[in-house]
């Protein structure tokens, strides 16, 4: 094994604490040095196993808490007629009063017609003018015609697609999603990566990009990269909770495969 890196550095890498200036070199070294890769994986698996064992201890404790709760509940059981006597009496009085005094709407159609209006498809472009290439793309995407979207976007001007404007970023994001939907995950990942390097102000779009990027990585089996991307996901993201579950699943899946 290449002795370029100390045990401390290897463990720092596993724990995500290796200084940024060493990270790129270290990752290149992992690709080239099988022993180093093995060492890194063994540390990762050991830590994951440790966590799995602790989860198991917790679950045993939780089962004990479940039985405690069950016992408490048994001690508090009240006969049905006692527990609900007041509610039953109140219901009888209410039913009697309703029958005599309340006038309820008899015809649902009346209410329905009052609120009904025909659904209108909203499009940002004018009906009179010819749609631009970008507008056509947007509509194809909205209609979930992902293959057509990918064909059509090739006809749009590169000046528009490659700029850093809001429209261009949206189109490229839709392209990445379309690639993903057409199962071209590799190119989808590349598109998401190029989007991540752009200055995007819209936080929800940024979160969407990060989340679907993670999913594509997971689909491609790039587990380490996916876990790293999850760790960078903002806790404000609407995908945050989901991502934590994905992370746990990926970790389990990962070490199970490695130890197999």
């Amino acid at each position: 094994m290449n002795k370029k890196y100390t045990q401390t550095q290897i463990i720092d890498y596993v724990e995500g604490k290796l200084p940024k200036e060493l990270l790129a070199d270290f990752e290149t070294e992992i690709e080239n040095d099988i022993d180093l890769k093995k060492e890194v994986n063994q540390y990762k698996n050991t830590i994951l196993l440790l966590k799995l064992q602790q989860d198991n201890i917790l679950k045993t404790k939780m089962k004990q808490w479940d039985s405690e709760l069950e016992n408490e509940k048994k001690g508090k059981i009240i006969p049905f007629y006692m527990k609900f006597s007041v509610s039953i009496a109140a219901s009888i009085v209410f039913a009697f009063l309703s029958f005599h005094f309340l006038i309820l709407p008899r015809n649902n159609s009346v209410i329905y017609n009052q609120f009904y209006s025909e659904y209108e498809f909203m499009s940002s472009r004018s009906i009179i003018t010819e749609p631009t290439c970008e507008e056509t793309c947007m509509e194809l995407f909205q209609l979930k015609k992902y293959d057509d979207y990918l064909t059509n976007i090739k006809n749009c001007s590169p000046n528009i697609i490659n700029s850093e404007s809001e429209v261009s970023i949206k189109l490229r994001f839709y392209k990445a999603i379309s690639l993903m939907e057409t199962k071209d995950y590799k190119n989808s990942v590349l598109e998401f990566e190029s989007l991540q390097s752009l200055p995007i102000n819209e936080i929800s779009l940024k979160n969407d990009i990060d989340w679907y990027y993670i999913l594509c990585l997971a689909k491609l089996g790039e587990t380490e990269k996916a876990i790293f991307a999850i760790s960078k996901l903002s806790s404000e993201s609407k995908y945050f909770e989901k991502s934590q579950i994905l992370k746990t699943t990926l970790q389990k899946y990962w070490y199970e495969n490695l130890l197999r």
Binding site: I47, L215, E241, Q244, I245, T248, L259
Partner: protein, 170 residues
């Protein structure tokens, strides 16, 4: 987060959660219990990591949010439905559940044996650091190390030794 705090959260939310999950998602009480336990573990990890605060109103919505996703993912898996835009976890879980469980039990047994072989104080030190996410400063105080660096060095030695034991006996 202490064990007492975790127990409190667990006991405060377990009943409400079970009725909600069984009623809303039409799952069995045992399934709801499993999901609740997994969700509490995720919640605890996030509190320990400092990703969220241990505050009552937040905890309830967070816990239910995690569980909801877990249940929905489980449903997709069972019904073989995979919405185009949301092909979450299903494709990662292709293994036979029974085999997975047996393998998991084997792994747990294996690490338990390794930890016994490792012994204390290493055992406690690693759990405090990796599972409870405690900083070295606190670990040094709790475990009577002379300073933070000394705890750090010990942790390094301990994880190295544990790794050797785990892989030696496979």
């Amino acid at each position: 987060m202490t064990e007492k705090e975790l127990e409190q959260i667990y006991k405060n939310h377990q009943r409400g959660f079970l009725s909600w999950a069984v009623y809303k998602f039409n799952i069995s009480s045992d399934e709801a219990k499993d999901i609740f336990q997994d969700s509490v573990i995720v919640l605890m990890q996030n509190i320990n990591d400092g990703k969220m605060k241990n505050e009552a109103p937040q905890i309830k919505s967070y816990l239910y949010g995690i569980a909801k996703n877990k249940i929905n993912d489980g449903f997709r898996k069972n019904k073989n439905i995979m919405p185009l835009n949301d092909f979450d976890l299903k494709f990662l879980m292709q293994d036979n559940e029974l085999e997975e469980k047996t393998e998991k039990e084997f792994l747990i047994l294996h690490i338990e044996k390794s930890l016994i072989a490792l012994g204390n104080p290493c055992n406690d030190l690693l759990i405090k650091y990796y599972f409870e996410n405690k900083p070295f400063k606190l670990i040094a105080v709790e475990m009577n190390y002379s300073n933070e660096d000394s705890a750090k060095t010990s942790k390094l030695k301990c994880i190295k030794r544990l790794k050797e034991i785990v892989y030696k006996s496979i």
